[in-house]
Amino acid sequence: MSSATAVSEHTPVHHSGESTGVTNAKLGIWLFLASEIMLFSTLFTTYIVLRLGAASWPRGWDVLNVPLGMINTFVLITSSVTMVMAYAKAHEKNLKGFQTYMSLTIFLAFVFLINKGIEYSAHFRHNEFPSTSIFHAVYFTLTGLHGLHVIGGIIVNSTLLYLSKTDFDHPLFLGRVEGAGLYWHFVDIVWIFLFPALYLL
């Protein structure tokens, strides 16, 4: 089964036929990200429509913990940098370097989630739930879905970290790291839009 997969994922490399020249994995990730962009644009549109139609809308900084959000923004941006470094190390075939930077990326993702958890629990302590107001509904749903994407990233990155022990020299490994990197940057970019939209505007 796995060899069948490997062969057809391989195909563009040895494929004598017509193709775009982009590897399957990369094309697939880009298409996946296109659908993700549609998903988050819909959520942002919802945010705009609801905000425009709302009788009142709180200032983000009155309700949310801006310093924590700020720290989280830095954490995610840093993790994007470490992700790039991990890819660079994989490119250099430096296993130790790859593993170090990948672990750092995963670690930072956990830091982000823990921060988010602290924020959430503070809200819950103050009796602020998604049902409290339309602002809270938007805040919890958007950051919650983003959080799920972060968890998804942790799973993908951890899998790669685990596989690097055995599959580091596999011809498809670098492509997989690149795909994971593209996804991780996307998750980062979504947060870079979310942070000002919810906390600062």
Binding site: V7, S8, E9, E18, S19, V22, T42, I134, A137
Partner: protein
């Protein structure tokens, strides 16, 4: 290893069927599963049709079996009627036609037609099937889960959908089905762009493949908004948010406890942003199949290849800017309606272009009236009726009166049932020899065709008259409104034909299963077709092609002058 025993046809276990990553096995699984779901959705409608024909009288047979909460004394309750309606729509669209046209035919035929060994991501392909199957079973099982099935229509407009029972399961199932479609779409696109055989330039792709490409793009870009919208509705139901609920609702005399601040119309915009492209998802694969069958059975190239492909792409793009023509009377800005009126009329232009190209393809042909050809030919006038009746609905002014009447039901059923579904059935007859190396029986096939065609018209045509008389849709008791009393006999006509339509599927079901083992054995290319799907053995082995494939020319080179045969396969060089 899994594919070792896939290669030996004789020893197929349950495991190798349901967990095979071979696109052909997955394709057939999709086809059989989708056909079963179609039958299921159809049977739900038969139960509803009883209530419509004879409102308030006990359902024969079934009435005794159903629990008293659904049908006390054998008479269905309004809630059960609404549940049947919502589930009929959902099952037919998301579990029937789309999986059949895209998951089934797309999976089986597309890799063959481009000369690929398999899909780009075989394991992802298997995952899509399983998401589809589990989502579908979850959707069906909602009838027996606490809360019952969804009963707010397949459109699930809030606030009704938020206060009605059953909706949570519907939303979870939808999220699974959407995931399945998204994975499938990515797979189809990568496969068609990256795995084409040598010489298979984009301009040489069969129209079926183009139809699948446009469909995949529609699924990829239109489904995520519905996924987001479903998540928001789920939040409204589970976390008691108010994305779709305004302030101060009073439901049956009780104040609804919710923060408010949301907008009911937001759902409609997000829903139709998917659901209009979805209409083309239902239609385009059928058009692709019709192109293949018509070219093959007229023995000449399809007329206006570029026009058809260009029109399909145009439809794919325009499909994203017509959604609000479903909302002319929703309370949306009346000026905005004018914009959507114009885009709607524009999108009819490529549709007409495709239809006329098909008709002109007949001219000069040598038409063989094979069973698949009958289905493909019937698609043309049926799609024509469906398209024409869309005109007074797409026009803002006349839509005021016809909106939400039986007229719209007649319209979209003509597009989907005697249109799409008939073409898809034709596809089953056309590719059956490829799947099993045997043909389906022609006599039974022709019986199936004529009875289905007549019955489908008998079911749906009366709806136009009822719609003009003002009969509102989704009515549990069609006699409740005085203006629909005179046309009530037409409900009896529709229902009678629906019953006959059910009976006329029996020859098909028998023919299908009987022919798998007993059909007439035919060679690899019984239709003398040109595309690559006929250049491999029937059924194709794992990896599909037994020899390296190279493509020399376009897909429909029939009746070339100075050749021995009247077809020139894509993988054979034409020597003058």
């Amino acid at each position: 290893m899994a594919h070792e025993h896939q290669d030996s046809q004789a020893h197929k276990s349950f495991y190798s069927y349901f967990f095979s990553t071979d696109h052909k096995v997955i394709g057939l699984l999709y086809i059989v599963t989708a056909l079963m779901f179609l039958l299921c959705g159809f049977m739900l409608m038969l139960v509803m049709r009883w209530q419509l024909a004879f409102p308030g009288s006990p359902i024969p047979l079934l009435g005794r079996i159903l629990s008293p909460s659904l049908a006390p004394n054998g008479v269905m309750t309004p809630d059960f009627y609404n549940a049947l309606g919502a589930m009929h729509g959902t099952i037919m669209v998301f579990l029937g036609i789309v999986p059949l046209g895209v998951g089934g035919f797309g999976n089986y035929v597309l890799p063959l037609q481009i000369g690929a060994e398999d899909m780009a991501f075989p394991r992802l392909n298997l995952a899509s099937y399983w998401f589809f199957l589990l989502g579908g079973l979850l959707m069906l099982s909602s009838f027996i889960l606490p809360g019952g099935a969804a009963q707010s229509g397949w459109t699930s407009y809030p606030p009704l959908a938020i206060i009605n029972p059953g909706q949570t399961v519907w939303l979870f199932a939808m999220v699974m089905l959407i995931t399945s479609s998204l994975l499938g779409a990515i797979n189809f696109l990568v496969t068609s762009f990256n795995l084409r055989a040598q010489g298979m330039k984009l301009s040489r792709l069969p129209i079926f493949v183009w139809a699948q490409i446009v469909t995949a793009f529609l699924l990829l870009l239109a489904f995520p908004p519905l996924e987001a919208a479903s998540v928001l509705q789920l939040m409204d139901r589970i976390a008691h948010t108010s994305f779709y609920l305004p302030q101060g609702l009073v439901i049956l005399g009780m104040r609804h406890i919710a923060s408010g601040g949301g907008q009911p119309l937001l759902w409609q915009h997000l829903f139709w942003f998917l659901a209009h492209p979805e209409v083309y998802v239902l239609l385009l694969p059928a058009m692709g199949i019709v192109s293949e069958i018509i070219a093959n059975n007229t023995r000449k190239p399809i007329h206006g290849y570029n026009v058809i492909v260009g029109s399909m792409i145009a439809i794919g793009i325009l499909a994203f800017v017509v959604w609000a023509h479903h909302m002319f009377i929703s309370g949306m800005s009346a000026v905005l309606s004018d914009f959507f009126l114009v885009t709607t009329m524009i999108i009819s232009v490529p549709s007409v272009a495709i239809l006329t190209s098909f008709v002109f393809s007949l001219r000069g042909g040598s038409i063989r009236f094979t069973t698949p050809m009958l289905f493909a030919l019937a698609f043309l006038p049926m799609f024509g009726i469906g398209g024409l009746t869309g005109l007074p609905l797409g026009l803002t002014v006349t839509d005021i009166y016809l909106h939400d009447t039986y007229y719209i039901i007649g319209h979209f059923h003509y597009i989907v049932v005697p249109g799409s579904l008939l073409a898809l059935m034709g596809g089953v007859y056309y590719w059956f020899p490829k799947w099993f190396g045997r043909k389906m029986d022609d006599t039974l096939g022709k019986w199936h065709f004529w009875t289905s065609l007549i019955c489908m018209n008998g079911v749906f045509f009366p709806m136009f008259i009822q719609g003009l008389a003002g009969q509102d849709r989704r009515y549990y008791d069609p006699m409740a409104a005085l203006h629909s009393v005179p046309t009530q006999p037409l409900h009896v006509v529709s229902s009678a034909f629906a019953g006959l339509l059910f009976l006329s599927q029996i020859p098909f079901i028998y023919n299908f299963f009987h022919s798998i083992s007993h059909g007439e054995k035919v060679g690899d290319n019984p239709w003398q077709a040109t595309t690559l799907d006929w250049a491999c053995p029937s059924p194709p082995p794992h990896g599909n092609f037994t020899k390296p494939i190279r493509v020399y020319h376009g897909p429909y080179e029939y009746s070339l002058a100075g050749q021995k045969t009247d077809w020139a396969p894509q993988n054979e060089e034409v020597l003058a």
